[in-house]
Subunit: 325 residues, 2 copies
């Protein structure tokens, strides 16, 4: 295709991927990253909430963005998470001029459940479908990371990978990118989003650059236990391993009610949980729906008492990632 | 038993566990701990070499030690690794007066392949058999850790757990003790022991108390990948995850030839490897015996050229741990 491009610039219709109105809609899921002891490496996709994204191939060059929600996100594609991801994809599609994107977000930006990853992942998966699935999932993660860079200044993949692959994913290494699907057992997820603002930049700033070796050893014992527990479907081991001695003690102070949520949810039967992403959402894992409902009740009672606005989600792990509508 | 003990001290024969000459012999295996990115938490047992240990119940109080090798180890049970482990066990056996131990060591002390763990694990497994297997494997690890304390001043379990459980073991937590068996695929292990002295105390001293968070994140990505690779029997993932950015760069400078051994063995097809325990032994993992033999040839050629005495072992992972003869 690069050779062809040297001599003439074909229209999309000449290449058979033309913007004749064909469009694809997908649901792009919320995700939990920084899963307790798995800071920067472990994430999973949620069955709910999801953003809705519709993509069509366009004869105009670049990306046109139409927002159908109240979040007032930028429509300049270079400053828009979805736009940046699609522009990165276009760089490797010499036969495509552009895309038109209609976005209806349901995942609140800044909630800590991967709103920007959903904005980045959904469009590239939908666009890839329109292009005959020419790119691998790993390629799509690579494109979507350009969207994350627009959102937070950092090209991280721990929300994007589960959004695209579904299930639980491990980012063993970011450069070079090495994504490993972890086959987890059925888990119910309860999320509470206390509606305060925790800026990702602040959450990053308060982390210390150095950690004690003895704490790092505890952490890698726990992440090793958590991965073993997930793959072996050993709920007790998962529960015992959900401990973070490095990030949570520092970041949880930015989230009012955190310690109480954690202790009361565990008393209510949750296996464990912690900060979702860089907060302020808190997630808890449970073995069954009934426990997950009790956990939700505890969360509600705590934020009702504190008097902070909040939103809860009671859901499961989404095993397929972004899905076609 | 404690109640009875208040009033009279029964002889062993009154309790039916008497020292009537019944004895048990076991092979107690060498082990590799600090498996690359699994510092302090991951270890595995080797099919060879093994120590030979024979235990009988005695009517004399305490532990009598008979050494049948040339290592000149102490016979005072409180200063002897096997003795300290057996004394800890006796504390929980009010019906037993003592043990007699005959020890024939083949694993060189100070080699870095768990010589002290073999001395601690073999006797307690053998004694437990004589006592009708009244203790769990976890209890036996707990007793054997008293032996490790005599050897190095620290009650660690990362060699003892694989010696007793066999296979690959994860110490998720040391206090409270949480040992997880990791079901690994068939692996060949090549070990070279360059015969220099690396004191465990020195190897500990040169470690820094603080590590960079970004390196800790790399390390827990790798240990998570390694555990996933082992359980999923994914050799490529095992190989990619065998990377240690924290301990090896510091400790490897104590081992002449380390970098060359590692790079040439990987070129010869090894999945990867690193320092065994706190050194000076170096181990390499391979998928098949032929590769493991090529790896051994590389090790031999390097230490022949350097002019250091060395010993090699070409073996597999021992799946059963200490075994009865």
């Amino acid at each position: 295709m690069n050779l062809i491009k040297k001599y003439y610039s074909p229209t999309n219709s000449q290449l058979g991927v033309g913007g004749g109105g064909k469009s694809v809609s997908v649901l792009s899921p919320a995700t939990v990253a920084n899963v307790v002891c798995g800071f920067d490496i472990l994430g999973f996709a949620l069955s709910n909430p999801n953003d809705e994204v519709t993509i069509s191939i366009s004869d105009e060059v670049g990306v046109q963005i139409i927002n159908q929600d109240d979040f007032n996100l930028p429509t300049d594609p270079e400053k828009n998470v979805s736009g940046a991801a699609l522009l990165a994809m276009l760089e490797e599609c010499p036969d495509v001029k552009g895309f038109t994107l209609i976005s209806k977000k349901h995942i609140k930006p800044g909630s800590g459940i991967g709103s920007s990853a959903a904005s980045a992942a959904g469009p590239v998966v939908a666009a890839n479908y329109l292009l005959g699935n020419r790119f691998s999932k790993e390629d799509l993660v690579r494109f979507a990371m350009f969207g994350e860079k627009v959102a937070s200044g950092v090209k991280h993949a721990d929300n994007i990978a589960p959004a695209i692959y579904g299930g639980v994913t491990l980012i063993r290494s970011i450069f070079p990118l090495d994504i490993i699907a972890i086959d987890a057992p059925e888990l119910y997820v309860t999320v509470v989003h206390p509606q305060i603002e925790v800026r990702t930049a602040d959450a990053r700033m308060i982390l210390k650059q150095n950690v004690l070796l003895k704490n790092a050893i505890k952490q890698w014992g726990n992440i090793a236990g958590l991965v073993a527990g997930l793959i072996k479907h050993d709920y007790d081991l998962i529960g015992r391993s959900l401990e973070d001695v490095i990030i949570e003690p520092v970041r949880s102070i930015l989230i009012p009610g955190f310690n109480e949520v954690k202790s009361r949810c565990k008393e209510a039967g949750a296996l464990g949980g912690g900060i979702s992403g860089s907060g302020p959402s808190i997630f808890m894992l449970s073995k069954d729906e009934e426990t997950a409902k009790s956990v939700e009740k505890e969360m509600i009672s705590i934020y009702e008492r504190i008097g902070l606005d909040y939103q809860t989600h009671l859901t499961t792990i989404n095993q397929e990632g972004v899905r076609l509508l």
